[in-house]
Point group: C2
Chain length 463, copies 2
Amino acid sequence: MDALLREIAAVVGPGNIMTGEDVAQRRVDWMTGAPCRAGAIVRPADTAELAAVMRLCHVANQPVVTHGGLTGLVHGGEASPEELVMSLERMTAIEEMDPVGGTITVQAGVPLQRVQEAADDHDLHFPLDLGARGSCTIGGNISTNAGGVRVIRYGMMRQQVLGLEAVLADGTVISSMNRMLKNNAGYDLKQLFIGSEGTLGVVTRAVLKLQPRMASEKTALVSCPSFEAVTGLLRHMGRTLGGGLGTFEVMWRNHYLLLTEESGRNVPPLPTDSPFYAIIESLGVDDEANTAQFGKALETAFETDLISDAVVAQSDAQRQGIWDIREDIEGLIQNLAPLFTFDISLPIPDMERYVNQLEAGLRQGWPQGRLVVFGHLGDGNLHVSVTVGSNDPEARRAVEQLVYAPLSELGGSVSAEHGIGLEKRDYLAVSRNPEEIALMHTLKRALDPKGLLNRHKILAPET
Amino acid sequence: MDALLREIAAVVGPGNIMTGEDVAQRRVDWMTGAPCRAGAIVRPADTAELAAVMRLCHVANQPVVTHGGLTGLVHGGEASPEELVMSLERMTAIEEMDPVGGTITVQAGVPLQRVQEAADDHDLHFPLDLGARGSCTIGGNISTNAGGVRVIRYGMMRQQVLGLEAVLADGTVISSMNRMLKNNAGYDLKQLFIGSEGTLGVVTRAVLKLQPRMASEKTALVSCPSFEAVTGLLRHMGRTLGGGLGTFEVMWRNHYLLLTEESGRNVPPLPTDSPFYAIIESLGVDDEANTAQFGKALETAFETDLISDAVVAQSDAQRQGIWDIREDIEGLIQNLAPLFTFDISLPIPDMERYVNQLEAGLRQGWPQGRLVVFGHLGDGNLHVSVTVGSNDPEARRAVEQLVYAPLSELGGSVSAEHGIGLEKRDYLAVSRNPEEIALMHTLKRALDPKGLLNRHKILAPET
């Protein structure tokens, strides 16, 4: 690797190659704090430098791992001492803003929050939003097809990307920096690089679509008497708010109770005895009209027994108080450790039965086991947390079986929004059939025949 | 081919193979009425039959062309006597409707309008809409990534597809019938088959996303004093209507004048002396609120000189009267024949200069030439119609050069929504660079190594 690193230094400058202790200082897993183990970290200044480095690596058969903001949850950033990391941390420019066309052009290393803020500055809105907004990067959002809390209204990251540029394993630059909403000139190549977790190419730049800003945002926490009421409420809100339904998040009682009364971590805005709680947000341009419409929608829901109780946030602090319960991951970890967390999706009508069966299976195997469920219900996405009092690999495998196995029959997914990485690779076949996986290998071979990009992530080596 | 047809007959039944005069009776181009020239038309009943037929064709090195509703505009349905047509006309089932999850599962041969109606029946909305709705099929909409008049609000067909099933050239069935908004379990294979015009696989079934129904739809025709006012109006409407802006269509004066006063075909709701006219639609759930909001938005636009005049449709008939001007393709053909039509996209801020240069170039080459421009301006998409008084191939080439050449520098596209097919294949390089085209060939070779699917469409044979 040393000879190669000298060649790379000639491209990026010696100051932009990190080795030894500098590499180990970098944390590749924010939950465990695991250190980076790569042979070195290379920090190119732009696409041309990255492409030149990739060409050198390709000739030298050098495997590489790409780093964005390192906020992933499936070990996608892990690298072995035999691998080189390409970090996009210096590629953080906002290159262009077009307020008329509603687009922003950026380098891939720019943090999500900076794009959100740049849009706000022009009275526009970049709708992708998730907890890691301050550190996750646009390149990482694209590579993992990030989701978050506004998918029900605006779709996932894939829907926000108009154009992109990526570097292939051999250093070829694929520049598809389209800026228009409509462009059907041949294959839509950018789709290859969205959600493929860096295994088909390194995303270097992107053109993102901006949305009209919705100045009014009303938030309610409601309790529902049954799962049937939850799904009825989802339909009702879709019908009465139309395109204004911005969020539909649901907490099972086990989540709401744990993170309010039981742990004392948050004040419950509503009593804790209902089986389900939903956070609903209504987006609008005019605050008065939005407030009235949302109030009417909640009133009707109350009258038709879809909700048993409701509180509408009257201030930012109250809104934050509601979201704090939903987003108290620290509270989950503290109270349930050792903890296994899952990010699954399945058809909404099947969710109640699925969770009940999971709970029953858990009780059977581990009488002390606990289950906590919340999620982006409107997107079909549940985050399931399980503790069985043990962290050992055997227990993990057994719980993974419980959680994943039923998804196959239901047409569910072992990864709704976090990706596959290394963590879920062995379960890919739960959600994808042999023909699909074979076609994924076909694509991987076609674009990265030497298998140098993010090795063994998503797809196990072919036997 | 006869031996192969006998094998195929054993799969689909002899009654489902059309030959001879039956083939020639079928029109593959609704503008010219050109007859189908294929060796035969095969009509499989379902995916299994189609897959079996494709396997037979693959073994026999038999090229195939897929037919949906035959409403395309770029000769994608053309077939030579050496080719077999797979027609999905018998695969028209609506298999499942899930009103809770908001999905509909269909076979690819179902017409678009039937899906729209099925959604309406459940108080939901399928937003893709275009003139050919009665005859175009969902499979065709997917294969061509259809656009239409609601893209500014809901995106193109790609955004409506949650899952799909396709048959590869060798008969392998790739079934990715995902029903959830979120599914990041490995590569999103369905993207390969959306917009690739049947060159990578035959789409057989799909799961489509349905939207909340917007019961209130207000339509206005406005006149704008300048192109700057048009783009200012687009931003203003985005800002004030938020997610309610459903349509932003623009007609240059040459279009509006021709199809009203000049031809006498339509009554002009507004005087014909403005340089630009826009059709704007505001979507909402509550009619009273939507009407008030739209009225206010138009008022402000008037006060700030973004519009010089406006009329809001007060009835379905008035709304239709406005759209009739925009959609009077028959009037265009009658008045401008012989006519060349184009479907391009380019960044909105560049449009005025582009059209002016095009007009100047046209005048220079053909003093009697005429240009008519209208389009989905909010999507960056213009439909340009040109007549130079001649239909010969040399004139066509010269006009194509005029229209397409400037797009390269502007980052525009030779196809916004119609696709490439055969018609625009020689201009693909205007909008896509050599690295992109090489990667398209890589994909084509990986998925269809024998080159049997929709031969020579999109991509010219490699030399």
